[in-house]
Symmetry: C2
Subunit: 172 residues, 2 copies
Amino acid sequence: MEKKRNAFEMNIAAIKLMIEQDGLVPGDRIPSERELAERLAISRPSVREALRTLAYLGIIETRHGGGSFLLNRDDHTYIQIIAQFLVTGDSKFEDLAGTLRLLEQSAFNQMTDHTILEEHVGSDAAFRETIISTVKNDLFERIWRQVNAFYQSFGQGELYTRAEREALLKRS
Amino acid sequence: MEKKRNAFEMNIAAIKLMIEQDGLVPGDRIPSERELAERLAISRPSVREALRTLAYLGIIETRHGGGSFLLNRDDHTYIQIIAQFLVTGDSKFEDLAGTLRLLEQSAFNQMTDHTILEEHVGSDAAFRETIISTVKNDLFERIWRQVNAFYQSFGQGELYTRAEREALLKRS
DNA sequence: AGGTGGTAATGGTCAGACCAATTACCCCTT
DNA sequence: AAGGGGTAATTGGTCTGACCATTACCACCT
């Protein structure tokens, strides 16, 4: 008997259920706030609290005067949200570079053919991007991309020098 | 010049900033909705929309009549939220295990002394936890912990068999 | 000092209003 | 009939105020 839960979470679940039952697909418009309030028998402020959360998570997009629309899964931003809260803690900046090195090293080690990196040895960004892309793991890639974005936001330059990149290739 | 952003997201950022500036730590009570509305010069409904989102993400916890409290980072529930939305689609669950393996492999490779792992070879969880802890990188450890929590939420068992763990040690 | 009750503070929810932006529609012109 | 323009309706954005439910606080009584 734990169906109590917060009414707020129930509202989110109800909206998601309604979206599913109505057979809405990404790009479709969901009912207006006033219509949702009526169908769910709750007030518009309550509907808005749920919709704002869904919008923050990237599930939907709201356009002033236009309505709310279901977004594609690729547009979902919860990964960014997680990273945002992960990084804004007391983690030190040098952790960023260290984490990037660890991620890229593990990706590099699992590569079977390193020759495709030779053409990118001149560019730090392309070199590292190529390494990550060979993993063929979407979650891993998104994590790396987020950490890298934070690293870049600090205005840092290259993570490796050209000599380091060449040494990596020579060693393999 | 893209500081426009949604007022809603600015409110969330403002609340997070206020929490930081006030030096609040997990467990502390944050100002009441009415006080927040006054300090941020916005209405209570707007404050609530932001607070409900933070509560849904597990950043804060609200108690009816009691107030809102800052939660521990470990209590954050965005992992469950992601799972909730991700699991309904063509979720690539295997990405989880793959990402964990990559993270732990990179951590393992940069260890200089593998002997401390011998006493934990009997426990998959302790074995992997020990590997990660040797990195001494807070951000890396938090990322791994989140991904691992996500993996555990699927009710999965051991990531490696005992034989695999022993083979790892023997090879080093 | 300990328990107890009342009161204040706080979150939960709602109704209604008004503004801003967009969309839909109808009418007019050509 | 087709196109364009302008107005009305729709929809999200925000606020005010109110009331209830729950909790926290504190003075009071025993």
